[in-house]
């Protein structure tokens, strides 16, 4: 891989040992990825605040604090994903009922450790959907470094900024990433035409559709036809499932997403290499993959994967109004939307029902602590394919079961303790 003179100087240690280690990471990562060069970021970074992806090039919290004291800054606007290292619950932690997250000392220690990131310019969004609350988006055609399943298709397909999955301390600090894969124009062309013959109406339909397409396509780039004009909620759900059931980082909706004014533009003027059709049966098959249980009992309900937006919080508050939960219900959002929900009164409505509104983390990131091996809960209900498909792994070897359905089915389960959702 070719480095320019500035990059070589950093690699030779002229900007200090930490910058040198970060450049060594970028050079080795680029080499392993088959990149020809590095590219300067001119978009944004979404990072998991922590030492980085590959331990041998890691930058310790002490080193980051030292850089912050020297007044060093991240090169482009940098937003925080969830705190993957320590799983800090930003709001509602006092009521979460699980350790160590409800321990004030644990939270205080971690917030203190995160301060140097904020001093260097990291904006504390603490969310897998930072892009819904960041109030700043990278422009079309810029180079970004993001992370997170639902966020990667958001940056590439919805915003038209170019990103692989490499938002990390090193990329944010040096403001550079290896130039390969999603950064290169020709790799962003659709190769597969996906025709949706199922009518996508409910938010859940987009989640199921995303999973079905992801499974079929893996890393390929599709153009999606027949999916209507998805709402924000539907796009987030679809993106999350596209990049969990498969690895779809980029797609086009002709006439809707910025790099595809037309179908021809989506394919960069070439013919599709393959065409697939998604039917209602495909959605049903995914529904059945997600929704299973040996009885109707539900003892934990989880909503907010990806972090709920304000429209979803308004809806869930409406469903819970004047009702009481008989089963533990967690509703997860990001810290900014949490405050909005507080102002709007949704938090009170949700909490009056006995449910817990939280921000900044997710059940999966807490691994098995919400469903410990002894006793209950053993059956979780959720409205997200992503959370559904990971939680059984997170709880392994404890065998848990998952019920999947629309938000309405999940709220019903929280109120009655029974699963009544079915495919319709």
């Amino acid at each position: 891989m070719l480095l320019n003179d500035d990059e070589k100087r950093i690699l030779n240690g002229e900007q200090g040992e930490i910058a040198q280690r970060c450049m060594k990471f970028l050079a080795d990562y680029g080499e392993a990825a088959g990149a020809e060069k590095l590219v300067d970021l001119d978009g944004t970074v979404d990072l998991h605040p922590g030492p980085g992806w590959v331990g041998t090039y890691g930058v310790s919290m002490e080193e980051i604090a030292k850089l912050a004291r020297k007044g060093e800054k991240f090169k482009v606007p940098t937003f925080s994903d969830k705190d993957a290292a320590m799983n800090v619950i930003v709001d509602g932690w006092e009521q979460c009922g699980v350790l160590p997250n409800s321990d004030p000392a644990y939270r205080e220690k971690r917030m203190k450790e995160l301060q140097p990131f904020i001093d260097m310019g990291m904006i504390p969004t603490f969310s897998c959907t930072h892009y819904l609350v960041s109030s700043f988006w990278p422009a079309v055609g810029t180079h970004s470094a993001w992370v997170e399943s639902s966020a990667i298709p958001w940056v590439n397909a919805v915003l038209g900024s170019r990103s692989n999955f490499d938002g990390s301390f090193q990329t944010a600090y040096l403001g550079k990433v290896p130039y390969y894969d999603m950064h290169i124009t020709e790799n962003r062309a659709a190769t597969v035409l996906v025709k949706c013959e199922a009518e996508l109406e409910r938010d859940m339909d987009y989640d199921l559709f995303g999973w079905a397409v992801g499974e079929a396509l893996g890393l390929k780039v599709p153009a999606l036809l027949g999916i209507g004009r998805p709402t924000t909620t539907q796009l987030v759900k679809m993106n999350s499932a596209l990049n969990t059931g498969g690895q779809v980082r980029m797609y086009h909706i002709p006439g809707y997403t910025p790099e595809a004014p037309t179908l021809e533009a989506a394919f960069h003027g070439r013919k599709p290499k393959e065409t697939i059709t998604i039917t209602r049966n495909d959605l049903k098959r995914v529904y059945e993959l997600m929704n299973y249980g040996s009885s109707d009992d539900v003892d934990f309900v989880y909503l907010g994967c990806p972090h709920y937006n304000i429209q979803e919080l308004q809806k869930v508050a409406g469903l819970l109004d004047d009702r009481k939960c008989s089963t533990r219900l967690w509703v997860m959002t990001n810290p900014q939307t949490y405050k909005l929900a507080e102002q709007a009164g949704y938090r009170k409505t949700i909490e009056d029902s006995g449910a817990t509104l939280l921000s900044g983390v997710c059940a999966g990131m807490l691994y098995g602590v919400v469903m410990p091996p002894e006793g209950k809960p053993n059956v979780m209900a959720t409205d997200a394919c992503k959370q559904d498909y990971y939680i059984t792994g997170h709880c392994h070897p404890h065998k848990v079961q998952v019920r999947y359905g629309a938000m309405e089915d999940c709220v019903e389960a929280a109120v009655t303790g029974k699963w009544k959702g079915e495919w319709r």
């Binding site: 080795d28 990562y29 392993a32 990825a33 088959g34 998991h48 992806w53 590959v54 331990g55 041998t56 992370v147 997170e148 399943s149 692989n164 999955f165 490499d166 894969d181 992801g214 893996g218 890393l219 990049n243 969990t244 059931g245 498969g246 690895q247 980082r249 993959l289 999966g364 691994y367 498909y389 990971y390 939680i391 059984t392 792994g393 997170h394 392994h396 070897p397």
Partner: protein, 143 residues
Amino acid sequence: MTIQTNKIILRGRKVIGGYAEGEALVSKMPLMGWGNVDAKNGYTVERNHPLYEVPFKGKVLVFTEPRGSGGFVGYGASRMFGTNPIAFLYRKGNNLTVFAAMVMNVPTVTDFDQDPTEVIETGDHVIVNGDEGIVEVIKTANK
């Protein structure tokens, strides 16, 4: 007893250099990380996966593609527990597989001239030359 052997050469792109040889463990289904990889025990815990709880320690792990979260790097983390594969071969990857390979630090090859999951079967003896991106397959898997 006669064992029929049949040698096949695959050419790909080096991700991580080095030499390794051993028995193949092949997944025709993509691998998923994060909660669905148990680095400590060195196996996938994705429900419905053909390799559910099948240890990859000491094997040449051959698979199609990654899918899902950045927590795919958990396959690499198996190195910290000594449960890692001795080589990592995949049809097509992205930075998820690259990060896992960098953490695992074993010979890793991708972008082959043929689909490795079509050519290599579980049980085949595989010789991996990571530096050259060349993989030699001795077909000894029981038919």
